[in-house]
Symmetry: C2
Subunit: 229 residues, 2 copies
């Protein structure tokens, strides 16, 4: 997670400041960002080990070596911590995808970029992705709504990538089932990927991309020959 703080953390901090009476108001952000990223990492570890329901702020205090008061300095509740982990993760994935897509125009290559982007983040942050998968529906009200909105944006981006391929190739398939099947293939990886025996993100993206893209591209009987990228 430490590698991903630059793009996402400022938003999280800004949002937090708007909502709470943080003692940090007015001070420079830089050291705070780094320490926050560290706390999010400890939070991820604790949720991963104990599950959200089973974890307490006391567990986090033990794991991080920080006092309870120190932890409350960063966020006021366990729920808020989960929200920050989720927001940080999804914002980072979406931001990176946007960046990658800027330089790719071929519809199939854009889908492959999306698959690689997802798997690269996923395999580098397996604990965080497990926590996100398991604690998907814990957040209530405004916090949950905000996370769902980021996920919806991500989902819509992916549906749009598929629709563009459909259009370019004259294909016919159900985009919802296709996108969610693709997410399933990619997300389930947290249950089985073993870096000692399994391929890395690039190779996995290639193999899964082959299965998925050839699968959806063959669905139309009058299949149009695939253009070379």
């Amino acid at each position: 997670m430490a590698t991903a703080t630059n793009t996402a953390t400022p938003n999280i901090i800004t949002r937090r400041r708007n909502r709470s009476s943080s003692p940090r108001k007015g001070r420079p952000n830089h050291g705070f960002d780094r320490r926050l990223a560290k706390v999010l990492q400890y939070g991820t570890d604790v949720f991963y080990e104990k599950g959200y329901e089973g974890a307490s702020m006391r567990d986090l205090s033990r794991a991080s070596g920080m006092s309870l008061a120190g932890l409350y300095y960063y966020f006021e509740s366990k729920e808020r911590l989960l929200y920050m982990i989720q927001k940080h993760t999804f914002t980072t994935i979406v931001d990176r995808l946007k960046e990658r897509l800027q330089t790719v125009s071929d519809p199939e290559a854009r889908i492959r970029a999306c698959i690689l982007n997802h798997l690269e983040y996923f395999l580098a942050n397996q604990k965080a992705m497990t926590v996100l998968s398991h604690e998907d529906d814990v957040l209530a009200n405004g916090l949950g709504r905000e996370i769902r909105e980021i996920k919806r944006e991500y989902y819509r981006t992916c549906v749009d990538l598929l629709d563009k391929l459909k259009e370019a190739r004259g294909l016919e398939f159900n985009s919802r089932i296709a996108v969610l099947s693709l997410f399933g293939m990619m997300n389930w990886i947290y249950t089985w990927h073993n870096p000692r025996v399994d391929a890395d993100a690039e190779e996995m993206a290639l193999r899964m991309g082959d299965i998925f893209l050839r699968g959806i591209c063959s669905v139309t009987p009058n299949r149009v020959a695939q253009k070379k990228k």
Copy 2:
């Protein structure tokens, strides 16, 4: 889960009796099976609502309206309950698959039968499948080993189905990635399938089967024409 008790529950009971000093020893099984199935259902609901870590035997007592003593009559711990839910679920899926495969010989049709079998059980028992996905690695020692062995058997059966298709069609792909991609597509469904807007198991099996099978069948450059079933 109630529909699936006949094939799987006897094994669970037998196993339990061998290991514990159950007061039921010697009595007929029938009423016990039905009540056990009911308790497993309540257990699934409670784990689903609270997560395994967050759930207590007291929660289960409240949900089921049974006394704590009554619950301990069926199993001696929360861990044992999770084990029984897992064993019941996986045994049922594997038994049903074996039964279905008895009457199907075409390699592609056998994979489609496997997909339908999985999705049918999955969509009819979404809570149980969520609990199994989330609490996958909770069980320790012997209990965990036994569950892993059933899952391994299931996995090996699926790899074997793919290998037979490979052989029949002269295909080349990585069976591990393919099978686990397929499981991902199917298992992830618990996070998104909405019976009000999404297709039923049969239609989902058809669509996912199309994506998956066309995906793996197109991977070899010299693709052999697909035989009609």
